[in-house]
Symmetry: none
Subunit: 248 residues, 2 copies
Amino acid sequence: MLTSPTSEALAAFLDEQLRLGGALLQVVGECEVLYSGRAASVAEAGDYLVLVKPDGSVQVQGPRGVKPVNWQPQTDSIAVGLEEGVAVLTAERFTPAELVRVAFDHPALALAIELDENGNFVLMGSEAEMQRALARNPEVIEPGLQLLEMELPTDVGGIDLLARDAAGRLVVVELKRSKATHEAVHQLSRYVESVRAVVGDCEVRGVLAAPAVTAPALNRLGALGLEFREVTALPDLDEAPQQPGLFG
Amino acid sequence: MLTSPTSEALAAFLDEQLRLGGALLQVVGECEVLYSGRAASVAEAGDYLVLVKPDGSVQVQGPRGVKPVNWQPQTDSIAVGLEEGVAVLTAERFTPAELVRVAFDHPALALAIELDENGNFVLMGSEAEMQRALARNPEVIEPGLQLLEMELPTDVGGIDLLARDAAGRLVVVELKRSKATHEAVHQLSRYVESVRAVVGDCEVRGVLAAPAVTAPALNRLGALGLEFREVTALPDLDEAPQQPGLFG
DNA sequence: ACATGAATATTGGAT
DNA sequence: ATCCAATTTTCATGT
């Protein structure tokens, strides 16, 4: 870590860290940023926070908003140099061709941080979690619904939930955690066909359960005689009692 | 700035800085992040860089990519507290209702940075700019073209440029700053139809003006009797003469 | 490599 | 507060 480094010290520090790799680099201070590629932009001299990640992605964060002022998703080439006494970072990408140049006019702080990548698994409110929640309480999908199977294997994949409705019909339920697309409809359709082929004597319904559905998917559902059910089965974290061990 | 602070020290530090406002806050270390709102996600314990900006926006950056692992664009309420010996940041937004909670299990570093907002002017090459440039000089699109309207509203949306060609025909121009897709063709097609419906007695051409076009889009254009015109209205910063005082 | 589609898209402006 | 449109969208996926 360096505080108020000279341009030479900053350039040497960044150069060494870039060669080493593996660290998240950070420079705070007054800089000018230039982007040229899919569009073109120039950020005049101002205070910014510049982040350079181990994968070569660069982002220049200003004082407001989540979106960086300038950025580069991933870079094929990244280098630092001295130009007329100023440390300059150049990050380039080839496809599409674009370039970000950051000139550190008055660096106030430079940091190299090791971010352990181990165990950084992000679990989105997962489909599995949603499946368990709905399995515990199938009536959320439809009153009178009784669960028969979870993750039932078929020749075309696994059925999320298989249930029986109040009228005794089989119900194939396909779950999506986020907005359901025509892919989900296609999947559900195949499952329903597969089940119908096995139990020809029983009426079989298909239900797509998701928090939302795209318009084309809804159209296709209707055309195939399938149904959509809006479910938001994710645990309501605002109102749910705190889990011991998680956040305290 | 704090290094390896205790949870109590971290909570006190963040609380004070949040009350003061104006600073960009940063915490590096092992934490758990929970998001609930438009979707739901949990990031398991791992090393992250957490940024809290003066406008209340929160982002949790992992070791890769420009996009944060978890984030919140702006917050109506932000607070820090101690829960069972762990400093916890809670950032809430009301519309849409969403919540981010960050539990700092093992903080390694906490920083408060002053980012001066003065003079952070950013010049972009945007579609609006491209539109103005072409409006000033329509001959770039086609010799003899005369501008009639900009952003002309129709029942199916706004026409970027409406012009008259050398032969007196109306020309509907659809602009795209980047590679035009079939979406742009569809849009142009609707505009042309809309204009033809209004002025049945005058021939109407449709021109898609963009720096590039996808192959399917070009095919569709041809099938619909529309035209493509390559324009590169963005300022080319690579070839432009260097400004003295800017990057050397 | 390219095209296509989804996303907690974000953001700014108009209504 | 909603809706609409632009964005260097980014990112993942299929071809």
